[in-house]
């Protein structure tokens, strides 16, 4: 076994045996489930009470037609706003949320509506109120045209469009596609790459700093070349990451199929109940959802996404880990590394910002360029893959990524070689550049 092999083995064994590895391996899937479930739980837990709003309607049109709902209770009032305010100040009307004032001329001047609240209002409340008032005013205006059987006409005019999207793939077949699913997958995997590259990259940096500050490096370099040491650490932690991923994938699939099994009974019971008592109108299952379900279970689609994720995670990790190793070698402790980490964090954050843009238009020049630049391609390309990417772009981007990893290892190796023997002084970027040019 080569020396790099021996080092990889140590890095792997030491980390996998740690309690923290076992904990994160178990807890991370739970955390993800938690992240997905938490918003739903929070929605249910939201116990905000009804908000009572007194409506001072100077036009005399709106107040009577305002419907309560969505935790909003409208109460037509014959007092002036000043009277209500005075009453509130005097200690009455404790439960009043606010006062809605509608101008006398609201039909011609719909901007003349004001809401005064005692607690801060939210965009949600404001939109709900203005929407309702707009509806009332529109109806009122329509009514002024005196059309016969207006409600029936309106009912007939009402239309609901659901779009079924297909994507024509390269072989010319059209495939049902779900932009919602693509977006979800893009977002999820983009974030995962961002998180994991940082997580494992920082692990490399900490490992190097630990070896340097505990002076283990002094013995090591007399039997191993610094380059072998650096590569051993980078690759050793890569194996840890891959094993951790494989465990997670197994856990998710096993957990997923167990959950499906457990819920199968419920589903059958639900179906029976539906046949008996419910109308055949299956609300909620739109063609969009069906498309999403179909592509989410399409093995080719899954293989593409997971395969792309692994290739780009490993490439991105290797590239950034080499940079993290160089930074770790240049400093004596983690605190000193903050400033040197800038060239690592800036492209990552940039990639993250561009990703949000990419999800709106995955084939824009911006998206294509950033999915080629090695420092951003792991995030951007992974976010683009669910939407479908031409093969030549994938190949070029992967070649660029792995090629620049090789180049980065060369540069990082130079810095590492000098850095591990430099103590005490926090180097500047200029000094790092000088180290790269040192000859040995």
């Amino acid at each position: 076994m080569g020396k790099i092999g021996i080092i990889i083995q140590r890095e792997f064994n030491e980390r996998v045996r740690k309690r923290s590895f076992i904990l994160t391996t178990i807890l991370t899937p739970l955390l993800f489930i938690g992240i997905m479930v938490a918003p739903a739980l929070l929605m249910r837990l939201k116990t905000s009470s009804d908000k009572r709003i007194e409506v001072v309607d100077r036009s005399g049109i709106v107040a009577s037609q305002l419907k309560n709902g969505d935790k909003l209770i409208f109460q037509p009032s014959d007092r002036t706003p000043e009277q209500i305010k005075a009453a509130r100040s005097a200690g009455e009307e404790e439960s009043l949320f606010g006062i809605l004032v509608i101008g006398a001329d609201v039909m011609d001047n719909p901007k003349d509506v004001q809401l005064y609240t005692y607690e801060s209002s939210t965009l949600e409340i404001e939109t709900a109120i203005s929407k309702r008032i707009a509806q009332i005013l529109e109806n009122e205006k329509l009514r002024q045209y005196d059309i016969d059987s207006l409600p029936q006409i309106l009912e007939k005019v009402k239309t609901d469009v659901t779009l079924q999207a297909f994507r024509i793939d390269e072989s010319g077949r059209d495939k049902e596609s779900s932009s919602a699913l693509s977006m979800g997958a893009a977002y999820l995997f983009g974030i995962l790459i961002y998180l994991f590259v940082f997580l494992y990259g920082a692990m490399v940096m900490q490992g190097v700093i630990e070896e340097k500050s505990s002076k283990v490096l002094e013995i090591m370099v007399s039997s191993v070349k610094p380059y072998q040491l650096m590569m051993g650490k980078i690759l050793g932690i890569a194996t840890v990451a891959i094993v951790q991923f494989l465990i997670w994938i197994v856990v998710i699939f096993v957990g997923g199929s167990l959950a499906a099994h457990a819920f199968a009974g419920d589903l059958a019971a639900g179906a029976q109940a539906m046949q008996g008592s419910m109308p055949a109108d299956m609300e909620g299952i739109t063609p969009e959802t069906l498309a999403a379900i179909r592509s989410a279970t399409d093995p080719a689609f899954l293989a593409q996404i997971f395969g792309g994720f692994l290739v780009y995670f490993i490439g991105g990790y290797l590239l950034y880990a080499a940079m993290f190793a160089a930074i770790g070698s240049a400093v004596d402790n983690v605190a000193d590394s903050q400033q040197l980490q800038l060239p690592v964090t800036i492209p990552m954050i940039l990639a993250f910002l561009v990703m949000i843009n990419v999800m709106k238009d995955p084939h824009s020049p911006l998206a294509v360029w950033f999915s080629m630049i090695p420092f951003t391609s792991p995030i951007i390309m992974v976010a683009r893959i669910p939407y479908g990417v031409p093969v030549w772009q994938l190949v070029l981007s992967v070649v660029l990524l792995y090629g620049s990893f090789v180049g980065m290892v060369w540069v990082a190796g130079k810095i590492y070689r000098v850095g591990i023997f430099m103590y005490g002084k926090k180097p500047s970027f200029r000094e790092l550049y000088k180290w790269i040019r040192y000859k040995y």
Binding site: M1, K3, I6, I7, R10, E14, E211, S214, K215, V216, L217, E218, I219, M220, V221, S222, S223, V224, K225, F421, K434, K439, Y440
Partner: protein, 309 residues
């Protein structure tokens, strides 16, 4: 036969010269002291021999051939800054370093067990390094350094942190390794241990070799014609008689049985004449040359008070 030859090695860093034209020849089977004040360039020289850095000029030969990458297996290096992975178990860690030095796993385990037994530390095998005291960790580190039976051992301050008993144990081991054919480079500030175990030394100061040679030779060469005489008899008479040929010095090693005088014999006088003179005046119990200690030579050489090479 010289195991290691360093020829005209120069190493410059951005704003200072770490080594300026240093040459050494280290005989096979010797213990070679590499001395010098802090920052003189010893560590740089050791790193060059270890192939951690390359010299700007000059060459290093091991066994007559220019030193090559594979030669690091033939070298065992105990750095001054000791370090082990704190969270790793002792046995596992020793095995790891042994394997990095190219030993097959099975052989490494066997050798390690033998050494652990010899040093009385078998029960540490499964302990974590952080549970050991500093001295204990040093023992482990020493074993790791010598385990693969290197031809050349480079020991940087090997005795620091050891109690006298363990320091002695270590000294015996070093001498034994030497007897088994190893060549030792021994870098230290502890001049007493240099006198005890080194055959040759090189003293580096300000990146230059200022003094080198066999230890005994150097000490004799730097003897300054200073002698001590222990006697019975009339001290004043002796003083008067020696006035012409000697200068009397303070600081004779007195003891209660005899009287003692320390004297510097003038360069043009002959020692045998001085002894004859003394013999006429008093009853001599002993007469010996005071040879300077390595410590004195070191201090004087570094201060520039010594005629050096």
């Amino acid at each position: 036969m010289d195991l290691l030859r360093v020829e005209h090695v120069t190493k410059r860093y951005a704003n200072h010269t770490a080594l300026g034209d240093v040459s050494l020849a280290i005989p096979q089977g010797s213990i070679y002291g590499l001395l010098g004040p802090n920052g003189a360039g010893k560590t740089t020289l050791i790193r060059i021999i270890n192939r951690i850095t390359a010299p700007d000029q000059g060459k290093v030969y091991l066994d007559g051939r220019e030193i090559a990458p594979e030669d690091i297996y033939k070298i065992g290096y105990l750095p001054e800054e000791r370090g082990l992975y704190k969270k790793m178990k002792v046995g596992e860690q020793a095995l790891y370093f042994a394997m990095l030095k190219g030993m097959p796993r099975r052989e490494a385990v066997r050798e390690l067990r033998a050494w652990f037994t010899k040093f009385g530390i078998r029960e540490w095998w499964d302990k974590r390094v952080e549970e050991l005291s500093k001295g204990m960790a040093q023992k482990v580190q020493f074993i790791v350094t010598v385990l693969h039976r290197p031809q050349l051992l480079i020991l940087d301050e090997p005795f620091s942190g050891f109690d006298p008993i363990n320091a002695n144990l270590l000294k015996e081991e070093i001498l034994q390794l030497r007897d088994q054919g190893a060549t030792v480079i021994f870098s230290t500030h502890n001049m007493a241990s240099v006198e005890e175990i080194c055959d040759h030394i090189t003293l580096i100061n300000h990146s230059r070799d200022i003094l080198s040679g066999e230890v005994n030779d150097i000490r004799h060469r730097h003897g300054n014609n200073i002698f001590q005489v222990d006697f019975r008899g009339d001290r004043e008479a002796l003083r008067m008689a020696l006035q012409e040929q000697c200068t009397l010095l303070e600081g004779a090693e007195e003891d209660s049985i005899y009287q003692s005088l320390k004297l510097h014999v003038a360069d043009d006088a002959r020692v045998r004449d001085v002894i004859a003179l003394i013999n006429e005046q008093v009853e001599i119990r002993s007469f010996r040359e005071i040879i300077p200690s390595m410590n004195d030579i070191f201090i004087k050489a570094v201060a520039g008070e010594l005629k050096t090479n």
